[in-house]
Symmetry: C2
Subunit: 156 residues, 2 copies
Amino acid sequence: MTLLHDESLTAEELTVWRMLQRAQMRVTRHLEAELLVAHDLALASYDVLLQLAEAPERRLRMNDLAGRVLLSRSGLTRLIDRLQRDGLVEREACASDARGLYAVLTDTGAARLAQATPTYLGGIRSQFLDLLAPGEIEQVRVMLAKLAALDLTGAP
Amino acid sequence: MTLLHDESLTAEELTVWRMLQRAQMRVTRHLEAELLVAHDLALASYDVLLQLAEAPERRLRMNDLAGRVLLSRSGLTRLIDRLQRDGLVEREACASDARGLYAVLTDTGAARLAQATPTYLGGIRSQFLDLLAPGEIEQVRVMLAKLAALDLTGAP
DNA sequence: ACTGTTTAGGTGTCCGTGCAACGTTCTAAG
DNA sequence: CTTAGAACGTTGCACGGACACCTAAACAGT
């Protein structure tokens, strides 16, 4: 597993990985910057709002939410602190489990999300989707599905 | 540019983008963690050492290097501080330009890089390349080339 | 019921990074 | 030669995030 198969292969493959890193970083930065100047919203915050908006009852358990936005639990705690301070989400106790807390999207939060969404989608388009042919997007989707499969099997 | 073309398209495309985010994050985390435990080397540090190793004379101007590792200049300053403290790189004045500084890879640094490289490549393999068919890797390369083209034209 | 274990969430602390401002040096215009 | 402006690298500051640890609640076995 830690063994090296064949050094010679890696020249081009390594480049692919590095290009991927760069491209992803570039798009992310662009997106974050645009959201910040236009709506004073960090990318992570946008993701949280989006996840909540898609969730039933506009609410999600903290732990659950942390997993979806790829953030540590502590990181999410602070982020929700900020969003709550700005009135975009609220914390609500869970009836069935006294330890549990729901993060709930407020109307204000939903409105901010709606405002920011064109910027978000536009950024993804201009920096990512518009540069690829439709068929290529589908190719990417297929590949990513393979990679995502690992999440279920290998990494708990 | 900030206009929304068609809301209906974005359902699947949005998923593709989010999957890409997740996949990239997952691989990066895995890589960083492995490098850290096995060689006490952050991913950013590895990247710096790698860039320097590939550069002529094993040296690169700070500004130049900052661009290659996708780090702000200030961020690079501190990173080089740490690497220098650990003896992996050195700073060297530039003869032709008194403002300029070279970051130079030391022998110690080259050795550490060599030690860590199997871990790095192995991680990329196991988390990324091995999950894709050879043809798919080539497809990715082609697409990334398109995305990278933007770096040259659109973004200064 | 009781005690140990696991889970949910929050807190203390540290580290890495970006932004804005700064000093220094190079370059161009007068 | 002088001076305005740009470029290079560094520093003060604040912020965001992770890790380790903590408390409270749920669950397990006896």
